[in-house]
């Protein structure tokens, strides 16, 4: 066994950022890498229940999903997809910067990533506001139009939007003319939509906190060619968040 095993970190040659319980920087990096991959696996499974919910309700009520998807703003969804892809690119670039010890570029790339993430949340906020304004929400909410019993739909909501009530316009059938059971299932679609995008949004916000923390550490000069673990692992998390959106966008917005 090597001599470093028993010095409890007092060896002057021991790298400062090598934790006391690891033997080498390589072991530390490998452990972290495996750890983050296992964590990402748990994240995938965390989302899995909602994807199963989506699959189940869509395969049982394909026509409901087709109809309900028309309420989503495809343009905003597409812009958000581009924004997130760009942020993934800058974060990946940031990893390269950290490896090469380019502190200024690293800072810049992290900043661009953060701005993109903020932009994504901003667009999401606009989308959500529209939904709340129009009442296109899940079935149980009082302000919604998706009630099984038409009598329960508030009068002012019934007339608020031209689009849903105009058979000649965007939609093939007006909301008020839908079969009650059908209308109720549209509410379930929005339940799934808000849970999926909401949970994803929470992950984006957690990612923003992560990026701010990484920027603070960058400023402190923590990262360099021998120590870029946190940036690397943070980027992996961010790519997963991006990837989940890449699935969400077509599944929710692009149903035809």
């Amino acid at each position: 066994m090597s001599t470093t095993a028993n010095d409890h970190g007092h060896d002057p040659n021991r790298p400062k950022h090598l934790a006391h319980h690891f033997e080498t920087l390589g072991q530390q990096f490998d452990s972290g890498k495996l750890g983050i991959w296992v964590f990402l696996l748990t994240e995938v499974l965390f989302f899995s229940a909602l994807f199963v919910a989506y699959t189940m309700y869509r395969s049982n009520y394909p026509e409901v999903f087709q109809y309900a998807s028309q309420f989503l703003d495809t343009k905003m969804g597409a812009i958000n997809t581009v924004v997130l892809l760009l942020s993934s690119f800058t974060f990946a670039w940031a990893v390269r910067n950290a490896m090469l010890g380019e502190k200024r570029k690293l800072m810049l790339n992290l900043l661009v990533t953060l701005v993109c993430a903020g932009g994504f949340m901003g667009i999401k906020y606009v989308e959500y506001s529209h939904k709340f304004h129009d009442g296109t929400l899940w079935g149980g909410n009082a302000s919604t139009i998706f009630k099984a019993d038409p009598a329960e739909i508030p009068a002012e909501i019934k007339e608020v939007s031209e689009a849903w009530n105009n058979p000649e316009g965007k939609f093939s059938v007006a909301v008020r003319d839908l079969d009650p059971a059908f209308r109720q299932k549209v509410g379930v679609f929005f339940g799934v939509y808000f849970c999926l995008t909401g949970l994803h949004g929470i992950h984006v916000m957690l990612g923003m906190i992560l990026i701010i923390w990484l920027m603070m550490r960058t400023k402190r000069g923590d990262f360099g060619p021998t120590n870029f673990n946190a940036i690397d692992f943070g980027a992996l998390y961010w790519h997963l968040v991006d990837l989940i959106w890449i699935f969400l966008f077509p599944l929710l917005y692009l149903i035809t």
């Binding site: 319980h21 072991q27 748990t42 229940a49 379930v188 849970c195």
Partner: protein
Amino acid sequence: MAPSTNSLDRTHYLNATKGFRSWFMTIDHKRLGLMYLWSVVGCFILGGFFAMKIRWTLTPGVTDFMAQSVEQMNAYNNAFTVHGAVMIFLVIIPSIPAALGNFVLPIMLGVKDVAFPKLNRLSYHLWLIGALLFVATLFIGNLDTGWTFYPPYSTGHTDPSVITAVLGAFVLGFSSIFTGLNFIVTIHKMRPPGMTWFKMPLFLWAIYATAIIQVLATPVIGISLLLLLVEKTMNIGIFTPALGGDPVFFQHLFWFYSHPAVYVMILPGMGVMSELFATFARKPIFGYKSIAMSSIAIAILSFIVWGHHMFVSGQSETMSVIFSALTFSVAVPSAIKVFNWIATLYKGSIAFTTPMLYGLSIIWLFGIGGLTGMFHATLGTSVHLHDTYFVVAHFHFVMVGSALFGFIGGIFYWWPKMYGRMAEGALSKWGCLLSFVGFNMTFLPLFPAGSQGMPRRYAGYTEAAGFDSYNMSATIGSMVLALGLCIALYSLLRSFKHGEKAPANPWGGVTLEWQCESPPPEHNFDIDPPTVDNPYDMTLVEWRGQEEGFLPKNPRSDDKCIADIQQA
């Protein structure tokens, strides 16, 4: 070379630093393990209190079933719900992996700590938050959903206690995930030179298989509970039939976690048993590879059998038949383990120490628990026995009789390592014996009671139903069991003052944790980490008397001699 003398006055992990912060904010896996241990014991007492409340209500002649008030029945519903939820989420799931696993795993690997010590601390703090939420539940309302939280009942009624309980289980899930993640990485990346996968102690194999389940299954219950919360607070409509949702969908998600969770509870106990049987039969474990692989097989199979909880839920008959067939397959790796343990005992030189008595008890208890599981795998029988006391008896034999007895056996086995004191003696053996007898008196009669139709979760039964004698036996048995458990706890606490000082290796185990001092130094091995060999080659150590315990046999050529002699 292990130290030959032991003194509790030297500096070790227990006295290296002092004060509340040095414990609460520690990243030392040994201290975290101990904090888990005592927290779990505390919750066990809480859960045990509710168990006694249930038994007392069901004692013949104590309450008149037909004359009970609604409040009394609500209190009963609350008692079995809290008992189940506390015992499962706060006691059995963290018991062996988080408490014993944390303490033992890094030492078994000859390293200073788990891969992510701060994450480990976070796990414990999350566990505490989860526990506090559960305790808050007791004061907030009358939690009466059963530990399964099925909608639409859980989401429909207005009692806010469901929110804190579900939130508590959600937080505890993350604690469990982080512990599992830590163990997987530690085992993959930090094994010492020479310890190949098949030279790992079987306890580590069991913990590894457990960690796989924790990491893969727990996120699913996490999201399900989160959705349940959203459903309850905002009526999102995914599970509630009145809003177009599907309540059976929740059952699928729930059991996709909760069936594998059964193996999170039992697998570590099986790991402890493998260690106990090898050490105390003074024989290499029989069928090392098949025991190791059966742990992995159980972990994999655990994910594809959840539907047997839902035979009466209205799922399709085809699915029920498939789940029934798959469920039988779990019996194979489980039986492989039991046969291997028995073969290990065969012609062994068995030492009837306290931990070994717990181990031997489990062969009986797990045998019954496992075999009655077959009744639930069989589709027709399972429908007949659904929601009866037969189910209750079955899972108590597995959860308590196997998992909890394994936990207690493990505590007695590693106690000398934890505190440097022996808790061994007539008292601790009586504790085990009384627990064993009491347990059987409690739960064996519940099999016939259940098969004759006594339903679970009912606040009582009429005299005409004919369940009086079974329930009388169960109540008396539960008191004997409680007495046995109290004696076990007392004998542990007593050892702080009266226990003999433990040598580094009091039992003659060959795994690495017995090669560092008892209690271990702050960084586990002040001496060079020992060389790794077959973890079950009992000829590697020899008895040197009470003071020194077992010590490595030297020089190493001795082994060669023995090997040569054996070959000749």
